[in-house]
Symmetry: C2
């Protein structure tokens, strides 16, 4: 055997070994999934929450330690375990423990909408009797609401208050809740329409989530907290994390979180389309961070325009915010046009100190993400 | 044993099994790393490129198939393998095959700068004799350049052309190249200063990359392509991907890719700092996408302001581009203030059709990323 073919042979042998190891890896994953399914079944029966932060942290810490002692990167092991755990969260739970046996019926108004459907599904998998009411069913409303223990309003933002104002005849003990993306006005409307327990919810996720694990739900308390405690427990059982907020503070934050973000993304898309550069070329020449940026802009326009119109046009307080953004833009443009580099650097440093430790933390977190963008590159 | 403690016991047993499986997983990773290190050594000797797209695709396809047949998610398996392969790309190569034995010396001007150092390191690990020249060494320049086979200009953008204009005395056959983030003017300057082979390079990554695998390097051809063919091969040996571009087209694209992105991010930060919302609260209430957005803004301000000042102030063509962005912003603000929802939706759809299939693709790609943001959440 000559030198070259001996070397090719070595490489071939090594690749066979690697394939063998990867095959064992897949087998391990199959075995692990069997175990986590049993854990899931156990949790469903006992009502234990699907996501237990302490167990997750402990599990990761043990493997990181083992990795270090074996010369394997602990960061690699943590990344892999987090990805594996995500999968098991998504697949292990078919049913959830019901947190209140007193609730005869859950009514979801607008339960055929995208996000409404997620809640209908979760309640049904938690063994509640669920009824959906849509606009065509309104004549049957008295009958449907008659023995409801929870009425959840899941209708488009523009009709939320109107729909709530129609709910004058709910049973006294019935919990009235909504999942609208603004909270101040709907919460007031619910308090006015119903004398019983009231709570405002804002699920910070879209209908395309594959599980509720680690998803955030904002809770704005209304009235008789003790009477809807079971509902909050139920949502936690699904794996979600609750964050309490004052309704007005929530809406102020959303002006940043939703309106600013969607509006500027819209403008970015409008500008790109207007400039009409060669998109292929732009993608080809992109650094990971710009590829990610382009993705974040592009994804908006693959979605329902009326949904975004509702969010942007539905929060009129944000007009002032957007005007001030435009003013900042002009100020920065002035710095650029007058060649005032030192003014730019001075402001840059001021903004950096406003962000504080979050800036550094963002650099680290986004680095991990950008590496993921690289991992997924398919290059020929 | 009562019912409850029996159940607790079941759960305990399952967790022991899961820990056992995870421990085997770490052992497999250690074994795999041993194999890939040998593959790396083999590639270093033979000069095979570190990244072979076909082998990667084949390896993934085989494991996806196995996964499907065993009821394991193929997407999960692909994600894990890509993450594992990234690690091995980063660790397996210590040295690289030298692609040209004729090159007596590589000189990196500004080789003590952050990105310059990456190239010095890569050339040294490829067995080239590398000399660095910084501004204080300039009197020794004739001696340093005397038998150089490659001179790589890696100085800050604002002095690139000036430095190039000083390079009148290079050996005829020496390759002159630069790694500046604009290409048109530096390439012209190099063509004027040197009669021999010339090529412009733009590495589309920062100095913090942990390997060059899958990173993009833009190539703008200058003169005598056949004489710097070895250099392009060398860069490919490091795992990078080359994209050829016309210098002016490159600069036009960079106005979007770098200037627009950094400038609007700067304004976003300025606006946030000016509005001064409670950052903690904002993060707490954030959906995954806004958390990512905040990270992308925050990360800018953890970096060197003068670097960004150079990029933004160094590309004066972008002023017009930024003005037109501001105009788009005003137009959108008008739609909002006049309540013209249907005008908004109409434009939204037009932009969507400009993006074409990229929009849908972005939605899919970013969904994977947002899941990664969720995976990494540490919640108490």
């Amino acid at each position: 055997m000559n030198e070259k073919s001996r070397k090719d042979n070595d490489l071939g042998q090594l690749r066979i070994q690697i394939d063998e190891i990867d095959s064992q890896l897949v087998e391990l994953l199959a075995k692990r999934a069997k175990c986590t399914k049993q854990v899931g079944a156990h949790k469903s029966k006992t009502g234990m929450p699907i996501y237990v932060p302490e167990r997750e942290a402990e599990l990761i810490a043990k493997r990181r330690e083992q990795a270090s002692s074996m010369g394997v990167s602990p960061v690699l092991v943590e990344d892999l375990l987090r990805r594996i755990m995500r999968e098991s969260y998504q697949t292990q739970h078919v049913i959830y423990k019901k947190q209140s046996d007193d609730i005869k019926k859950v009514v979801v108004i607008g339960g055929e909408g995208a996000l409404g459907r997620v809640f209908v599904d979760m309640f049904e998998r938690s063994d509640y009797f669920v009824e959906v009411i849509e606009k065509n069913d309104w004549e049957r409303a008295p009958e449907i609401f008659a023995n409801a223990g929870l009425v959840l309003v899941a209708v488009p933002i523009k009709i939320t208050e109107h729909v709530i104002s129609q709910l004058k005849q709910l049973p006294d003990d019935c919990v009235l809740a909504d999942i609208t993306s603004v909270k101040h006005k709907p919460l007031n409307a619910m308090m006015a329409a119903h004398k019983g327990p009231v709570v405002g919810l804002h699920p910070m996720f879209g209908p395309d989530v594959s599980s509720l694990v680690k998803q955030v739900v904002v809770v704005c308390h209304g009235r008789h907290e003790e009477k809807y405690d079971w509902l909050l427990k139920q949502i936690k059982t699904w794996g979600a994390v609750l964050n309490e907020s004052d309704a007005q503070a929530h809406d102020d934050a959303m002006a940043f979180i939703q309106v600013m973000r969607h509006f500027t993304t819209f403008v970015f898309g409008a500008h790109l389309a207007g400039e009409n550069p060669d998109l292929e070329q732009l993608i080809k020449l992109s650094s990971p961070i710009y590829r990610l940026e382009l993705n974040m802009v592009g994804r908006l326009f693959a979605q329902d325009p009326s949904l975004y119109a509702e969010i942007i046009f539905g929060n009129k307080d944000s007009v002032g915010l957007l005007h001030r953004f435009r003013d900042e833009f002009d100020k920065a443009l002035n710095l650029l046009e007058s060649g005032d580099k030192s003014g730019f650097i001075k402001q840059f440093l001021m903004i950096g100190s406003w962000f504080g430790p979050f800036a550094k933390q963002s650099l680290l977190e986004s680095k991990k993400l950008l590496q993921k963008v690289d991992d997924d590159r398919h290059l020929g």
